[in-house]
Symmetry: C2
Subunit: 403 residues, 2 copies
């Protein structure tokens, strides 16, 4: 008997034009289009193994980071599995010789290689890896864009993690959500110099979940309606900045849209705050770097963006990322040593800020650990298929690692 | 020879519909109308003595908190003095017997009874006291609204400090600013139960000045344009809430407009932050008090508002202010003892939160001194005329106290 199993990884994506608000909460249809950069799976990824077997006890089972999660039929995982099974069933109906995988119970194990404590949204990469592995298991003919419609129903921004490079999630107009899907705007290879530094910010306060937060914004923020009129133009500007590899335009718009998104959060009742004092100070640092750089060279050096939490993601081109890292290290000393995965710091002293005219007095240094750690990564590819040796499941269909 | 001198005090005002943005920076014409509550001068006030004398050496001189400030002809102080002198000159032209005070040099001393370190904007009360004392010295026939046009040119929100109670600053439409003036919406006696607690928040970071900040918002925030379409409706709602003494509507709108104002600050490029982590936590406390109170009684208990700084002003009715003070004291222990000027805490233990259903676990207590001090005050009257015994000037026209 052959084993029907597939293992895939999917990347994290960080939006530069933000998704905030649903026009349909069941289908997860957004109030506006969004655009993200896919980050390199060499550094951050979710990995999922899916297996189906006629002999499994009835009912699907799923383990997330080694802990079993209930698969509810109308829950987000359940909906994704149901939709992919339906696609498989259609394939089977077209070819009687195919094994009836759609009728067999599933065993799924999923892992994130980054700690939940890092505060990075793992639902996007996690759901994308689930969809990718099931699509591989079921040998589905659907394009990544069509599969992204399924991932979207699991976790809105997961649809963008089905592509590498620069990815748009088109809001669509159809009420069934069939045109609310992701597509590649530009490949990683079009602009591979895009690097990212994730500053993991310590925060004791439990934030508002993005799911409940965004609906509160839709219901109570008068400014959101105006944001929605801005986004179509911003999508075009951002696509054009990426097409022409115009980092100045890319960074300026990334910062403006992050601030615009957090402004509508603040305009919500009760207000939603994701940025804390350290986040604000990181914004201050990037603004000072850009002010000096703009004056010295006419160009911006970096662009910050914040999702539904205090962590700062700073985009910068390959040639400038070391400057950014050194500047962050100077003002936000981390507890953990920086692993320097690209070896960009060699030869220069940590803490030196090599931007002409940079005002080192713009702030004093923060307490050690205000920024917990730094993750240096770059634009990356889409979901990857892994070999059987990477399987997360044991022979009996239970996960290799259990918490 | 008689002495020509006048001493006045003017109150602080805290807006509940915020002023942010000028359509004319020279005349200080705002992009939107605003509305404030005048606070009691028994607790917070600016006091100004103005004297003119033919024998004074040529040129006007002014001391602010005992320190001499240059009076520039085209500066904010100079413009106010010039306009009031012009009004005096018109009075003199109508009656030849009057002394020609308008031609005599001025000596002006002004004091705030609250430390600058409290972070309360002193320019509004200070400019209002200047205008009130000069109008008194010159025996000007102009109404407070017409005088508010002068104060406005010194410091926008100063125009609102020429009235007690509940005060609107009408943006006006005239290009010369003649209809951009303050007027009383309701007197203090109409709704005297309005109390206010000022939570003075410690902040090391030097904030963006409101003068430069608001123009950056006008120039760069796309959301500001939308805010401007909201304000006329909010002004009407607020006036109606005050007319009917509807605290629920007053508090809800006060909080929404404060958040809306800080949202457009955040939408500015570079973004402007006035709220810090302690400010955010104070918002969280009031929201939790209101959530519990709303559930228990159907009514809100308090409304917060923040100007261009981290200090929180909490409005609450007389019957509820003690509850608010105790709740703030529980989570934000101050260094300085609370003077309890109204004696509202007697009999109850500090820190007790007597709102049914209030979740005491909503947050742990902040470090002592995160909120530096608490000032308890209430709605108050407009500028007061003081007797000669309150003069701030010595016989020779120099201030009694010099720094």
């Amino acid at each position: 008997m052959p084993t029907y199993e597939a293992t895939s990884t999917a990347p994290v994506n960080i939006a530069v034009i933000k998704y905030w608000g649903k026009r349909d909460t069941a289908l997860i249809l957004p109030t506006n289009s969004s655009l993200s950069v896919t980050l390199d799976q060499d550094h951050l990824r979710s990995q999922t193994t899916s297996r189906c077997d006629e002999s499994f006890e009835k009912g699907d089972r799923l383990w997330l980071n080694g802990k079993e999660e209930a698969v509810k039929a109308d829950g987000r995982l359940g909906v994704c599995i149901r939709e992919l099974r339906k696609m498989r069933s259609e394939v089977e109906q077209g070819d009687e010789k195919l094994p009836k995988l759609s009728q067999w119970p599933l065993r799924i194990a999923s892992y994130n290689n980054f700690p939940t404590a890092a505060g990075l949204a793992s639902s996007a990469s996690g759901l994308a890896a689930l969809v990718a592995s099931l699509a591989q298991l079921y040998e589905l003919p659907q394009s990544p864009s069509l599969l992204s419609c399924i991932a979207r129903q699991g976790s809105g921004s997961a649809c963008r993690s089905l592509f590498g490079g620069y990815v748009a999630w088109r809001e669509g107009t159809s009420s069934d959500g069939s045109d609310s899907l992701a597509e590649e705007v530009a490949s990683r290879d079009h602009w591979p110099e895009m690097h990212a530094l994730i500053c993991v910010v310590s925060d004791k306060k439990k934030g508002t979940s993005s799911t409940s937060g965004m609906q509160r914004t839709v219901e109570t923020s008068p400014l959101l309606q105006h944001r929605l009129t801005l986004v179509p133009g911003r999508m075009k500007e951002m696509e054009s900045a990426i097409a022409s590899r115009d980092f100045d335009a890319f960074a300026a718009l990334t910062m403006a849209d992050s601030n615009n998104f957090h402004a509508v959060c603040l305009d919500t009742s009760p207000p939603i705050f994701y940025l804390n004092d350290v986040s604000r100070a990181l914004i201050g640092l990037v603004e000072e770097l850009n002010r000096a750089s703009k004056e010295a060279t006419g160009h911006l050096i970096a662009g910050y963006t914040f999702d539904a939490g205090p962590n700062c993601v700073i985009y910068a081109l390959e040639g400038n990322i070391a400057t950014v890292i050194r500047a962050v290290q100077r003002y936000f000393p981390t507890e953990a040593a920086f692993p320097d995965p690209f070896g960009v710091l060699g030869g220069k002293e940590a803490g030196e800020v090599d931007v002409k005219g940079f005002n080192v007095e713009w702030s004093s240094a923060w307490d050690k650990g205000s920024v917990k750690s730094l993750i240096h990564t770059r634009v990356g590819d889409g979901p990857r298929k892994l070999g059987q040796e990477e399987s997360l499941l044991k022979e009996d269909g239970t996960p290799k690692t259990v918490v």
